[in-house]
Symmetry: C2
Subunit: 413 residues, 2 copies
């Protein structure tokens, strides 16, 4: 017997037929003798619809009232799933965030403070199944709070930690975490397991499987998370600590996955004066505007000569960034500002990199051999990222996937 959280995303809850299918998955786990809490998202598209209504109601909507409106989507699906489970003869009940309660702070992007597990312990003692809406909680003032888009993953992991679950299964519309996007590389392999750190890096560079926050939370509580498909009856990918992977006795690849992220825009400032404070003058107005600067490359300044600086920002922030920099043009003293949306960040992620210095060099050589020019580079302990022209995306991902030995050879991973 295990104690598990099962979380189902919007596509898994999109309509009664799908909810019935989800109920069968829950039933199987319950009948196997497990103690089960289920966390559900709103039906696919419903949260978008509710957010749109808030926007139409007033351009500057009150986050407290926004939460009242958007929390309703998960309320509906949790009631419907409880009804469907009961219809199959299971002892299921829904518990809203304010009923457990799930204590949270803030609005629209609230943080979970604490989840009371007492109600759930009572449910499990009586052999029941608890159905809990994801994405929501209740503030100290007794107001509804929502956790920000994709927050149901975080709800599921936080709940698993609170009820000391053996694992948290995140059912979604993909089969797990792949070595790279299978739409680009048909030879991509589903990974049996990745570490929390690898998953965090992969999520941060475009592998949209789990909300980054939920991975961080799982790492903090060392909660095993499984990502799997609610549409295919196969094991998914385990996201666990380094030690757990050691125990699984898996042969370690140096590189675990290749990700790409088109959500980058490049800005180059030319003719920057060679004086102290120039770089600070550039990034201060961007920080004030809450813009995340990612990759930064500075041409080596020669004494007394003007230099260039290149960096990237999220695509959606490009217009704001340009405006902020134009405003500070005099203070910064640049000659020209060049922008480029047709770039992509390609990243290789793998915990094996820690002990192998050749990974970055292999990436540069592999890309150079195809004539792909590298516009910027960043590295972390377990990641190497390069910025290249967007038109090379598929080619770069494919050749790196092969170069790092990730192609599916038909053998078990």
């Amino acid at each position: 017997m295990a104690r598990i959280v099962m979380k189902f995303g919007g596509t898994s809850m999109a309509g009664i037929e799908r909810i019935r299918h989800v109920s069968n998955l829950v039933k199987r786990e319950a009948e196997a003798g497990n103690q089960v809490a289920v966390v559900v998202s709103a039906m696919a598209g419903e949260t978008d619809r509710l957010v749109q209504l808030c926007r139409e109601a007033a351009s500057l909507y009150d986050p407290r009232e926004y939460d009242v409106v958007v929390a309703s989507g998960e309320q509906v699906t949790s009631g419907l799933l409880a009804i469907t489970l009961q219809g199959m003869g299971l002892n299921a009940r829904s518990y809203m965030g304010w009923q457990l309660p799930i204590r949270a702070t803030g609005h629209a992007a609230a943080l979970i403070d604490h989840i009371e597990a007492d109600v759930l312990e009572g449910v499990f003692e009586q052999g029941g199944i608890a159905v809990i809406p994801g994405f929501q909680g209740v503030t100290a003032d007794g107001d509804l709070a929502t956790l920000g888009r994709g927050g149901s993953d975080t709800s599921a992991v936080a709940l698993a930690a609170a009820m000391k679950a053996d694992r948290c299964d995140i059912y979604t519309d993909v089969e797990g975490v792949f070595t790279t996007d299978p739409r680009i590389v048909p030879k991509a392999r589903k990974l049996r397991a990745v570490t929390y750190e690898e998953m965090l890096e992969l999520a941060s560079v475009g592998a949209k499987v789990l909300q980054t926050r939920s991975v961080g939370l799982a790492m903090r509580y060392n909660m095993p998370v499984q990502v799997l498909s609610s549409f295919e009856d196969r094991p998914g990918t385990l996201i666990v600590g380094d030690d757990a992977i050691e125990e699984m006795n898996m042969e370690r690849q140096l590189v675990t996955g290749i990700a790409h992220d088109k959500n980058e825009a490049r800005i180059t400032l030319t003719g920057l004066p060679d004086r102290a404070g120039t770089v600070a003058a550039i990034f201060a107005p961007l920080a004030e505007a809450n813009i995340n600067v990612d990759m930064i490359v500075q041409s080596v300044p020669r004494a007394g000569k003007p230099s260039d600086l290149t960096f990237t920002v999220p695509t959606a922030s490009l217009a704001h960034s340009v405006a902020a920099l134009e405003k500070a043009k005099e203070e910064i003293g640049f000659q020209e500002m060049l922008t480029d949306l047709n770039v992509v960040k390609i990243s290789a992620v793998g915990i094996g990199m820690r002990s192998n210095a050749g990974i970055a060099a292999q990436m540069f050589q592999t890309l150079a051999a195809r004539g792909i020019n590298i516009l910027a580079i960043t590295t972390s302990e377990i990641k190497v990222s390069v910025l290249i022209a967007e038109e090379y995306t598929e080619l770069a991902v494919r050749v790196l996937h092969t170069a790092y030995g990730l192609d599916d050879t038909g053998e078990a991973a």
Copy 2:
């Protein structure tokens, strides 16, 4: 300065444009210096959609979970109205049923026990506007509860009573209470005022303006209710006590309104044995099946001879009624069961009837003069109802409206 409840139905809340219009009506009352609480229904069609989802999820759905699902519709509109009011510069906030709280007992058709007014008093002290979802409350166990279809009218009146409001304005898609259905009689007049008793009788015989329960509650607390249109800027109809109508110095009509109700089906049992217990044997199985029997006519039994019995049931209960009676056929001992869906109940309602015995006679004569056959009759202190063939509906309503002097003559009512 007055303290008022404003209640808006589903058509008034159907989309952001309409909610903006509602906000203007609320703003006007607030800026006139009134203390305002607003009760809202779900967007038109939304509750039907949610009920349908519950039905699809399981044929015998749990009323507790049904309440979780359907309560979401009013949650959405109350948040959206609060946002829209704030966008107009007003100090508005939503309060869910469980936040006030609105204490209720039961599920799916719960009854309101008590509404705490403390939170609202605090809101009014600070010059705020409270937006409250209709139709919902919270049980002693902390579960969501809904009040049954049309329950938002009851929420509004109960809230008005709890906060000792001066009046409760029910905004809807009709202009008020009319002497009869204006689609049948273009000369129908909007009534300036009716008594609670008259409104109860009119509602029970087909005038679908307010939920019957809400009228009973208003009568109990002597809470003045105004029914008016959110689309037309005109006074509606006041529903008040007998004494208040006296004070308004209105000329009293003997008959206040004519209503018709097609939701009646006739059942006739023939050849009933002349023995004690026959009538009980007929109505006991119907009562067990929770079927409301309305009009009853028994042919005068002659000693030792079989007799007939005619009665009506709601159209939706006809199939159940027939099944229940067929099952008890041997015990009852009837020869034949005849059913007829093509009947209509026409009612004249008026508090003036109490002191005038001629109203019923006038009805029978007026219908007889047009050759309309009366199939059954029931009367109460302030109502006369007859059952006739459905094809005469419009003719009967029109001639009675004229006979009782209700036609609009162009003078103020």
